[in-house]
Every structure is written in C-alpha cells, then in structure tokens.
C-alpha cells in the first residue's frame, strides 16, 4: 500500500482506491480546504490499514476531523460483519467512551460574564483535574465500582447525584447492556476506584459557552436553545479504567490474531473474531468501562450543578440546568445498519466519531425523534463549537458524524510555537477565561493546534450527515 491512490468523489468526499491487502475501499469526508491538511501525517494510511481487517462492510471511513492516531485514525468509522468480522480494542482506543455532553441553563451571558472570573475557579476547585486526578468524595469500593460498571449513569441518579430526566438524554440511556465486571482486570479496578468524578488531563475540559448563532429555529426550540443562552460542555471519559481495559485486550488479541491467521498491517489493530470467546470478554469489559464513563460525566454534572446552585443561590432546576445530550466518541457496538438496501446487524467501531441517529429512529428519545440526534461538535478552546442535528446522509456513514475539530499540530510542535502567557492574554482579549491544571496543557491545547472546526462542520453539513442548529462561543474554559 505504498502507492495509495486517492481521488475526489464529490465536494465532500475522497475515495482511497482498494489496493494491496485492502478488502474494501476507504472514504474520507473532507472538503477542499481539509484535503490540503490530510497529507501532513499518516492518517490516510491508517484508513487504508483498517480496510485490511476481515469482514469489513462497505468502506473504511473517516470523518472530516480525521488525524493520525494509532491503529485506527482518529475520526475513523468502520463496520464489521457479524459473520466473519472482528472487534478491535485499538479501534475503540484507550479512553473508552471518551465523550461529550452539553448542559443547558436558562441564564444569559449578562448574568454569567460579570462573575466568570470567580465562577470558573469555583468549578475548577470542585472537580479534580489534571494528571492522575482522583476524587476522594466519590472513592468507590470494589463492589460499588462493579455496580457503576453495570448500571452507568443510572447508578449515579439512583444515588441521588443526578436528575431522573438526565437518563433519556444519554446515548444508550447512559448504560450499555451486557457489561460484565468479571471481564475487567484487577489492575483496571485499582485504576478506576479513585477516579469517578475526575476530569483527567490532555484534551479533557469543562467549558462555559454562549449560544451566538441559531441556524434552525425549529430544531433549536426542540433542543431548548436560544441566542445569548449559557451552556456548559463536559468532555472526559473512562479515565485509567478504560486505558487498562484497552491495554489488557490489545495484549491478548495479538496472540488471537496470530492464531486466527489475521494479518495485521499495524499491531495496534489487534483483533478477535466477533463470535470468539476473547471478543465476548472484550465486550464485557469495554461496556463496563463505557458505563463508568457515563457515570463519570454524570457525577461531574452533579458537581457543576452544585457549584452553580451555591454561586447563584438558586436550585439547578430553577437555573434550568438540564441535559441536552451526552454522546460517546470511542466505542464499538452491535448496531443495525442498512447496507446495499438490506438491514443487518454489524459491529460499528467509532474512534473519535459520534453516533448520529436520523429523524424517526426509534432509539431516539421522544423529544428528538423528529429532529434527529443532537450531534455536539466542540471546537478548540479559542473558537466556536457547534450543535448539529443528525440528518439522512448519516445512513452513508453507519449513522456516524464528526466529534470535534481534529488536531493539526503535534504537542511537540505546539510547544515550539506557543507561549502560555501569550495564549492566555490573547484569549482574554477575546473575552475568554481559561484555567488549566498545567501550563503545558494550555500550550498543547492552544487554538491553532487544532483545525478550524467550521471547516469540519461545513463538510458534514454539506454531505448531509447533519444539519447546523446552533453555534457557540466560549466564555470560560477549564482544561485538565
């Protein structure tokens, strides 16, 4: 595959022609501007590598926020047949169910901007952030952790730390069925027990935003959005528990792939046949980690609501702090798709991609059945984010959409170019407050380290995968 042949199909898609060991073609969603950025790293080669795996259905796909990952590209989407297909822990990634949620408020910018310099530190001091963060208030016993892994966000709600109404606005209603904590290693338990209610480091964040543009009044009304409204986004995942599950199973599946005669173009694509014992054990453990991630974001929501209640001396219900949606970015799930006009079940891998259910899909909550699933697309910390609604074109992508802006610069390059003080000052000039657990995080996560998210949104909306509902601009950001 040294000579990968790419050609443009239409203004929104590029095709990687099937060659060498590829069992299918590759499709990369990218407009002309994004195409220029694609050749900067090895992401295209990774799309082609995924196409070499057994049982792949349709094409190996990548969303427009694609960038170089390990094994799968970030932004990768691939479906595998129940008969002859595989599941790959590397196709899910280390941060299992890393995801994002958006919490509404009924407040407007004028109520929050004057106090943001005090509100932001209050949230920062309440949520353990940064490298190796732990939360003593929610430290779990081994049995409690098992229940969290089985029940996900509903465990949090049942304990009184969340609202009953939250559950229906999670993907999978906050719990993927079939989690089996017995498939989770002792090491993963040790990592997970002190980490519920922690943000972590890297690209994880809590962000207070303002709705600054509405593109679709009707859908915005259903989503509960209006101009000037204050929203909160939370981005984090399954923390060390998920990392350990991924590591444990990549290690074991290298041997499985060898036993099954599966030729891996990259060891990080280690996988097991879907019906094998090893695959079933991985699903038991991966779902456990995914449910932990749902619970983690729900606990963080509880902490944020608590800070707002104390700060504004009103209940979070009176502040209108309800969940708009929570969706995962890194997951493998058995879902129903339509391929060549035929409905079938398949194992969908999304590695840095969002599920995007179209209007009418029965898996949607009643509120969103006519609009399609909310697709949350956070941008970099200095520029806008978008809220989209999944549209009919997502039946071409196994009901998947983009998950963010996508990195442009390596962390090393960002450190070469960025200076912490200049970045903070520049953001302050734009009215954006930022707090981070470390100086390095601010530099690594600086706005120009990412692609312009509007190019990504232009591509998914142009391709009909989703339609634009609202644009947000940041007011305050906490980086882990």
């Amino acid at each position: 595959m040294e000579n990968i042949n790419i050609h443009r199909i239409d203004p929104w898609r590029l095709e990687i022609k099937k060659c060498g060991a590829m069992k299918a073609s590759g499709i990369v969603y990218a407009n002309h501007e994004l195409e220029k950025l694609l050749l900067m790293d090895q992401a295209i080669k990774q799309v082609a590598n995924v196409a070499c795996l057994p049982g792949i259905i349709g094409s190996s796909m990548a969303m427009p926020d694609i960038h170089w990952g390990y094994g799968f590209p970030i932004g990768g989407v691939a479906a595998f047949s129940m008969d002859g297909g595989i599941v790959s822990p590397g196709g899910v990634g280390y941060d299992i169910n890393c995801g994002v949620r958006c919490i509404r408020t009924n407040m407007v910018e004028d109520e929050v901007r004057p106090v943001i310099s005090m509100l932001l530190p209050s949230i920062y001091n309440s949520i353990p952030c940064g490298v190796g963060s732990r939360n003593k208030n929610f430290k779990l016993t081994s049995d409690e952790l098992s229940r969290v892994m089985e029940k996900g966000a509903s465990w949090v709600v049942k304990k009184g730390f969340g609202d009953d109404d939250d559950i229906q606005y999670h993907e999978d209603r906050g719990c993927i069925e079939g989690a089996d904590p017995d498939d989770v290693s002792k090491k993963a338990f040790e990592r997970g027990m002190p980490e519920l209610g922690t943000l972590g480091s890297g690209n994880h964040f809590v962000e207070i935003d303002i709705v600054d543009n509405i593109y679709d009044e009707d859908k915005a009304a259903v989503f509960g959005l209006f101009i000037g409204q204050v929203l909160i986004q939370v981005h984090t995942g399954s923390r060390g528990l998920g990392h350990q599950v991924c590591d444990d199973f990549i290690h074991s599946m290298i041997a499985v792939a060898s036993r099954e005669g599966i030729i891996l173009p990259d060891r990080q694509l280690a996988c097991a046949p879907l019906m094998s014992r090893e695959a079933q054990r991985y699903f038991g453990a991966m779902k456990s980690a995914a449910n932990f991630a749902y619970a983690n974001r729900e606990i963080i929501t509880f902490i944020i609501r608590d800070v707002f209640e104390k700060f504004f001396s009103r209940s979070h219900e009176k502040l209108g702090m309800s969940l708009l949606y929570d969706c995962c970015h890194n997951i493998a799930k058995i879902e129903t798709i339509i391929e060549k006009g035929r409905e079938m079940k398949a194992c969908i891998h999304r590695k840095g991609a969002t599920r995007a259910l179209i209007p009418g899909d029965k898996r949607l909550s009643e509120r969103y059945i006519k609009t399609g699933q909310p697709v949350l697309v956070p941008g970099d910390m200095g520029r806008q984010s978008f809220i989209l609604a999944a549209d009919k074109g997502s039946n071409q992508t196994f009901y998947s959409a983009c998950h963010g802006a996508g990195r442009l610069l390596s962390r090393k390059e960002a450190k070469r170019q960025g200076r912490e003080r200049m970045i903070i000052d520049s953001m302050m000039k734009d009215g954006i407050h930022v707090i981070a657990a470390s100086k390095a995080t601010i530099v690594e996560e600086m706005p120009c380290a990412y692609k312009d998210v509007s190019m990504v949104v232009d591509t998914v909306t142009g391709a009909g995968i989703a339609s634009a509902v609202a644009r947000l601009r940041p007011l305050g950001i906490i980086k882990g």
Partner: protein, 134 residues
C-alpha cells in the same frame, strides 16, 4: 541516555537508539518515559518486582512499559533505578527501585501502544520507536 522525543499529531513518541543489547534498549526506553512523565526519584527506599509476558519481543517491550506506567500512575511509585534480572523474547523479570513519594507527575500518558512498533538491530545498536497514547 540515547533517546529523542518524536512528533505525532495526537500523541507522543520516543525513539530509543544506540543500545548495545536488548536489555539496554528496554532500560533506556523505560528511563526515557520515566523522565518525560516526571516519574523519577532520587530516593531509593522501596522496591517493586515486575513479571511481564509478551507474544514476542516487541509485545514484551509494551507489556513492560505499561507495567511500569501502572506502578507509576496507580501505585504512585517513583523510580530511581531499574534492574532487569532476566529477559527472553517472551518473558521479563525486573526490579524497580525507588520511593512512594506521591509527588505529582508532570505529564500523563495513557499507555504505550503497538503502533508501527519494530525493534531493529542497526550497525549502531538496537533501536525502536514507541508511540504513547496521550
């Protein structure tokens, strides 16, 4: 120590080179990631013994690095010295010396990955590049 950090769009890599033998390559790779994450210690008042298995020598390297990351991140062990007691293509036994200082790490990596991993023997010694998920 002969290593350099490697650019990767989303993550972070280290290239270790010029090792006289496999044992030295393993030591250098571990000392590199310990240095980069701030997991070193000048105090040696505790020990940890690790046993690792691998499908082959590359897989063994990843198992060993991830075992060290687990000790560092979950047990808050800070490392002053590593002694490899025995190593084959699929098994390793090592002793970590250091301290449970609880000092914060400066950089978090989720895990060492198998991405494009290859251990090469060159005229200048053994070399490899390991990509870590950040």
């Amino acid at each position: 120590m002969a290593y350099q950090t490697v650019d990767h769009t989303a993550d972070f890599g280290i290239r270790v080179y010029g090792a006289k033998n496999i044992e030295e390559l393993f030591l250098q790779a571990a000392y590199a990631i310990i240095k980069e994450t701030g997991a070193g210690s000048k105090i040696s008042d505790a020990e940890q013994e690790i046993f690792c298995l691998g499908f082959d020598i590359e897989d063994l390297l990843i198992s060993y690095l991830n075992e060290i990351l687990f000790m560092v991140q979950t047990n808050e062990f800070r490392v002053s010295k590593i002694e490899i007691n025995s190593i084959t293509d699929t098994r390793l036994n090592a002793r970590l010396k250091g301290s449970y200082t609880g000092l914060p790490l400066k950089f978090y990596v989720k895990a060492a990955t198998q991405h494009d991993l290859k251990i090469n023997k060159t005229p200048d010694g053994y070399e490899t590049t390991v990509i870590f998920d950040v």
